[in-house]
Amino acid sequence: MKLERELMRGAGPTAVLKLLSRHEMYGYELVEALAKQTQGVLAMGQSTLYPMLYNLEAKELIEANWRSADNGRDRKYYCLTGKGKKKLKADMEAWEKLNEAMVSIGVLKGAPA
């Protein structure tokens, strides 16, 4: 199942920030991680991922640098900035509240309060 574009626009950046909060990652690695860890729900191709990464970079939530990998090829690694960490924290709280709200009205299943 794939998310509609509007939902992806809201969820995608938070998901990417969350993945980068664990360790730095390069583009293909992010695509794979999103597809596997979300069972394809947040899977995204180059056309979605790279513009999103450039936007996050422009907002100074992530930063990137080119480095040689173990296989000898250059890769661009992305990592979270301090500003990105704060943004992720705020986004997660917002998603929590959204989740609770969705549960409260029965859109999502969850433990009763």
Binding site: Y28, Q46, P51, Y54, W66
Partner: protein, 676 residues
């Protein structure tokens, strides 16, 4: 205009503009734009992926370094995918639409661009929007401006002519005056032929005058010639030949009105060689086809002024002839012509009337000074009545000026039905061409180019004052003039202030893109006119006082000791001097005669002493020094009267000559003809 249309217009004008695109191509010429494609060549990716990336990069239209950055990242991504066992087809299938990805890449990469670039882009966009707003705004104003048409509804020329309704042709003098003018032209022409036929010796070798110059000189200088001048004898001949016409003029001068047809249409016909008849044609019944009211023809002014001169000259001849009846009738006729001009209600006619009245009074006074006993009491009384009647018509009602301005407004502005409106294209042209050339202030050399003014015309809808504001401004100036007439010369400062406000606005308007406002262009020299009104009434009062003194003298065999002795039999009261409130006309008598005078420019009495009669006469004729104050401009550009520490206005010329204004001087010096 819908949002999408605006968006298209914006894209065309700024983003897709052919000129801007050409500029971009020129700007990036020679830049290593192939770097991204070199990377792709080197990477040797599967063809389908390579093609998608190339298409994306081309469509992104980003800077070369940005494209290289994207190419490098997409190559790395593809190589990682191949390493993970993906085929070229699989990778291409997840790539997405190159057109869409190029758009997203371009948008996101631009967000990463440096601050100066974004500032430049925003400035460019803002400028574009501003230009667009200005173009749209100017265009809508231009449409509104060029669609405006003046609503010319009132026929002011007909309204002016209606003043003469109710008078029969026998009560109008114009027909007689015009016929006499033709006779005068014939006589002068005959004189000119004789003059031209003369040997050069007569003019002391000077070049002969042209016919028109000869005619104008004779008409304007009649009273300046003195016995002994060659021109004097010629003038005597002319005036005697003109006697039959003068009889008719004297009769016509007693009619109630001049009764000229006010019109903008005329025909000048040469009825015989060198003799012209001006035919005044009925004005067009449709005011839209008429000229401005202010352009109506007033040939009567020049003609009546000439007749006053001829009558004055003939009065002197009549006295020489011993024909006192004719002399009296001549002076009565001068007063009648003055009265007819004064009662017309046009400022220019009233000023002419005052001038004619002064001419008659001055000439008559001179006749008494030269020959004290030639006039009988009855003749003096009839003269006094005629000059008193004419003097009562000195009122400067300004009604014509108000009508003329309202007529201008209806030709310049639209009419919203409630007295307001906006300037029209025809109005703008009329204002900057015809009206400006007619104004007393004239056209300045500094004025903004006419073509620029035309281009600025649509902005006048929002930037220039409305019809109602103009109407209020003009009429409030006229109201102020009439208030000063009621209050007296002490309030002349009000008009000084208004005129300096007009002068200030006028000077600024010379350099303004909005040009001059109609009210400022059309406001006449009201301070000077109102001052002239006070002077006209004062000189008339002084002349009537002189006549009363002369009648008293004939009745009592001696001059009165004071003017109070004249009241009430010879004068209803001693006339007041409007320039010096509280001081009636002054009178001094001695063995040489008497004088009637006022406290003068300095406002105190000096027993009729004149320091410099020539200077005093000039001061009296121009503006009263006592009521001209210093004016200063405030920070807001509004002028105000400068006051001293005690709150008193500071006079413009505080050191006015310490002398009185002698209005009637009947002292006979040993040199005067009467003493011979």
């Amino acid at each position: 205009m819908s949002g999408s249309t605006l968006s298209k217009a914006w894209r065309w004008s700024v983003v897709r503009s052919p000129l801007l695109n050409l500029w971009r191509r020129v700007r990036y010429m020679g830049y290593p734009n192939h770097a991204a494609f070199d990377l792709l060549d080197e990477a040797a990716l599967p063809d389908e992926v390579d093609a998608l990336i190339r298409t994306t990069l081309k469509r992104s239209k980003l800077w070369a370094n940005e494209r290289a950055e994207i190419a490098r990242e997409l190559i790395a991504h593809t190589q990682d995918a191949i390493e993970a066992g993906r085929s070229g087809e699989e990778i291409a299938s997840t790539f997405g639409d190159p057109k869409r990805i190029a758009k997203l890449m371009r948008r996101s990469m631009k967000r990463k661009r440096p601050l100066y670039w974004r500032a430049y882009r925003n400035m460019k966009r803002a400028t574009g929007v501003l230009i667009l707003v200005l173009i749209v705004g100017y265009s809508s104003l231009a449409v509104r401006f060029y669609m405006g048409k003046p609503a010319i509804k009132r026929n002011y020329i007909a309204e002016l002519n209606a003043r003469n309704d109710g008078y029969s042709e026998d009560e109008k003098a114009w027909g007689v005056y015009q016929e006499a003018d033709i006779a005068w032209q014939r006589l002068v022409l005959e004189q000119w032929y004789q003059y031209r036929a003369q040997e050069d010796g007569g003019e002391q070798g000077q070049a002969k005058l042209s016919r028109n110059t000869f005619l104008n000189q004779i008409s304007s200088s009649i009273n300046e010639y003195q016995p002994g001048d060659p021109e004097y004898l010629r003038t005597v001949g002319l005036v005697r030949d003109f006697a039959p016409e003068l009889v008719k003029i004297r009769e016509a001068a007693q009619r109630p009105i001049v009764g000229i047809l006010y019109t903008d249409r005329n025909e000048s016909m040469e009825i015989e060689d060198g003799v012209f008849e001006l035919k005044l044609l009925e004005p067009n019944g449709d005011p839209r086809a008429q000229d401005l009211l202010i352009s109506v023809l007033l040939p009567d002014l020049q003609i009546t002024r000439r007749y006053a001169n001829l009558l004055s000259f003939d009065a002197k001849l009549a006295i020489e002839d011993g024909d006192m009846q004719r002399a009296t009738e001549n002076y009565l006729a001068i007063a009648g012509i003055a009265r007819q001009n004064l009662s017309q209600g046009l400022m220019i006619s009233e000023l002419t009337g005052m001038s004619i009245l002064d001419l008659g009074a001055s000439s008559f006074r001179q006749s008494i000074l030269e020959q004290p006993d030639i006039w009988s009491s009855d003749q003096l009384v009839s003269i006094a009545h005629a000059y008193a009647q004419a003097g009562r018509e000195i009122n400067l009602d300004l009604s014509f000026e108000r009508m003329a301005f309202d007529d201008v407004l209806q030709r310049l502005y639209t009419d919203d039905g409630a007295g307001n409106g906006r300037l029209t294209p025809q109005g703008s042209v009329l204002l900057s061409s015809k009206l400006m050339s007619m104004t007393i202030r004239g056209q300045s050399e500094d004025q903004v180019d006419d073509r620029i003014q035309r281009a600025m015309d649509p902005l006048k809808i929002i930037g220039a004052e409305s019809r109602e504001q103009q109407r209020r401004r003009y009429h409030s100036a006229m109201d102020a003039a009439q208030r000063v007439i009621r209050e007296g010369p002490k309030s002349l400062w009000r008009l000084q202030l208004i005129e300096s406000q007009i002068e200030g606005r006028y000077a600024r308007a010379d350099e303004s893109l909005f040009g001059h406002s109609p009210a400022d262009v059309m406001t006449p020299a009201i301070r000077s006119a109102v001052n002239r009104y006070f002077q006209g009434r004062l000189t008339n009062s002084a002349f009537l006082t002189m006549l009363a003194i002369e009648i008293y003298q004939r009745d009592h065999g001696q001059l009165p000791e004071s003017l109070d002795q004249l009241v009430p039999k010879y004068l209803p009261s001693v006339p007041q001097d409007p320039f010096n409130p509280g001081f009636p006309l002054q009178y001094v008598v001695d063995e040489t005669g008497y004088m009637v005078y006022t406290a003068g420019g300095d406002g105190d009495l000096d027993g009729g002493v004149q320091i410099d009669p020539e200077v005093d006469r000039r001061n009296f004729r121009s503006l009263s020094r006592r009521f001209s104050f210093e004016i200063e401009l405030g920070e807001d550009g509004v002028p105000s009267i400068v006051r001293d520490g005690n709150g008193r206005p500071i006079l413009l010329e505080p050191d006015a000559p310490d002398s009185d204004w002698v209005l009637i001087d009947m002292r006979r010096t040993p040199e005067s003809p009467a003493a011979d």
